[in-house]
């Protein structure tokens, strides 16, 4: 403490008042920064979100609910939930496996695998959708064979799941890798010396240690899976009542000037996103120490 320069004794009061910690901004600058942040958030996030709910409820809650219970809307909601229910658990398993491999073993091509995990963040979802169409479409070798055997991928559920999985793959692995690196291998090794099998070590040591980070990653993955538009738009074929997910339906309804229906769906999707955010924030407050991942997404 003694080496912090104190204002010399006998300084005039005005000068003493001017003295403050070097990291403190002047009050005026602070006010401007806060106003900018509030303005940015308000214009870019809060206002649009409020508009979605306002538009959805513009003809009363009854109309909004009626538009959601329309058979095609209901089909879209079911499809979106089904896709998330398949894609998210699979991505959780793949994400845990990838994070486990990267953090617990040394092997050739590790850097390549880490880059590969980030690929879906850097490639446009539309491009990803097109790749799936080209690989599994009826005109491709694999796709043709699959269609002939009654198992179409593109314009059907499997394609939508694949596209969603591609786009949301990084979330779980990216949450887990920093946490697992930070925790090291010592506890796992200790469990092995105590006689536990590899599977038991995973179940009783690794998994409990990463459970909050895993839940967090799964939540983010789920939010993104339900909201994915670009890649799914390409592979789904947008067949109403069959392959149209909630985001796709919103776009189609909006293009047809069905404003209340479009905004009711949008409000539902936004609501699901907000719930996810709430759970995420609650987790963050309670388990901050275990969620030290540096977030780059």
């Amino acid at each position: 403490m003694s080496d912090i320069p104190l204002p010399p004794a006998g300084l005039r009061p005005a000068a003493a008042r001017r003295f403050h910690a070097p990291t403190d901004e002047a009050p005026a600058a602070r006010l401007v920064l806060i106003l900018l942040a509030v303005l940015g958030l308000g214009v870019l996030v809060l206002a649009p979100l409020a508009t979605v709910f306002a538009e959805a409820l513009s003809r009363g809650i009854g109309t909004a609910l009626a538009s959601l219970s329309d058979p095609q809307a209901w089909s879209a909601i079911r499809l979106t939930l089904l896709v998330a229910a398949i894609a998210v658990p699979l991505n959780a398993v793949f994400g845990v496996a990838a994070a486990w491999a990267i953090t617990k073993f040394d092997f050739r091509g590790k850097a390549f695998l880490i880059t590969l995990i980030d690929l879906p963040f850097s490639v446009s979802p539309v491009v990803a959708g097109l790749c799936i169409v080209l690989t599994f479409g009826a005109n491709s070798l694999i796709g043709g064979w699959l269609v002939a055997h009654g198992f179409p991928i593109v314009f059907a559920l499997p394609g939508i799941v694949l596209a969603t999985m591609f786009v949301t793959f990084p979330f779980v692995a990216r949450e887990l890798i920093p946490v697992m690196i930070e925790q090291g291998r010592a506890e796992e090794e200790a469990a092995l010396t105590l006689g536990a099998s590899g599977w038991r070590v995973f179940r009783t040591v690794t998994l409990p240690n990463i459970r909050w980070a895993l839940l967090y990653g799964v939540l983010l993955c789920n939010a993104r899976a339900m909201g994915e538009f670009g890649a799914v738009a390409v592979v789904s074929g947008k067949i109403r009542g069959q392959t149209a997910t909630v985001p796709i339906s919103i776009e189609m309804l909006y293009n047809e000037y069905m404003t209340v229906a479009a905004f009711s769906m949008a409000a539902l999707l936004a609501f699901l996103g907000l719930v996810t955010l709430l759970i995420k924030t609650a987790l963050e407050i309670r388990h901050a120490d275990q969620l030290t991942a540096q977030r780059r997404h």
């Binding site: 506890e187 010396t193 536990a196 009783t204």
Partner: protein, 239 residues
Amino acid sequence: MVIQIDEISKLFGTTAALHPVSLSIPGGALVALLGPSGSGKTTLLRILGGLEYPTSGRVLFDGQDATGMTVQERRAGFVFQSYALFRHMTVFDNIAYGLNARPRASRPSKAEIARRVTRLLDLIQLPQIADRYPSQLSGGQRQRVALARALAIEPRMLLLDEPFGALDAKVRKELRQGLREIHDTTGLTTVFVTHDQDEAMELADLVVVMSMGRIEQIGRPQDIRTRPATPFVRDFIAG
């Protein structure tokens, strides 16, 4: 149990952590692996415990080749440098872990496990802490819990990596005595790693001085002090 190390070497990529080293540890001995940081002590200990596989050479337990034995089969009570207690488990569950991990046929009953954990907590003189979590313990308490956890599996040997490294001087002195007592009660062949020559000399029956992946001298503390075999040993125990 008699441990023999027969021409063991270990390469990490191209760096040699151990040049071929040989060492015979009599049953029931308390042995110190002494040397500066980076001399290969931890590597040798991990090879004994089955956590690392040697590049060449053999390990023999009671004359039987154990080189290919898995870490689980070795039943070595291992105390890690930073203790590696399971942070999400209570002290009780930490100590009981090895017993719970046994196959059903050889797993003791719940009551028997509780009895053994209580006995181990008495042995380490911490009978009151069964319900605490590792984060609620002092460094010295953690070290003793790690020791109890290793002892719970009824190990064939005890391997300790810098067991006093993370402790302040006063606790260090107390726990040295504690390890000596536990060694004498259990009669287990015990190998511990240290870079502190006082610790090695005071505690061990046999001191193995290592430097740069080689064994410089093996001997009783007083022999090493009075007749250092190489200039390195002389300088190291002087400093």
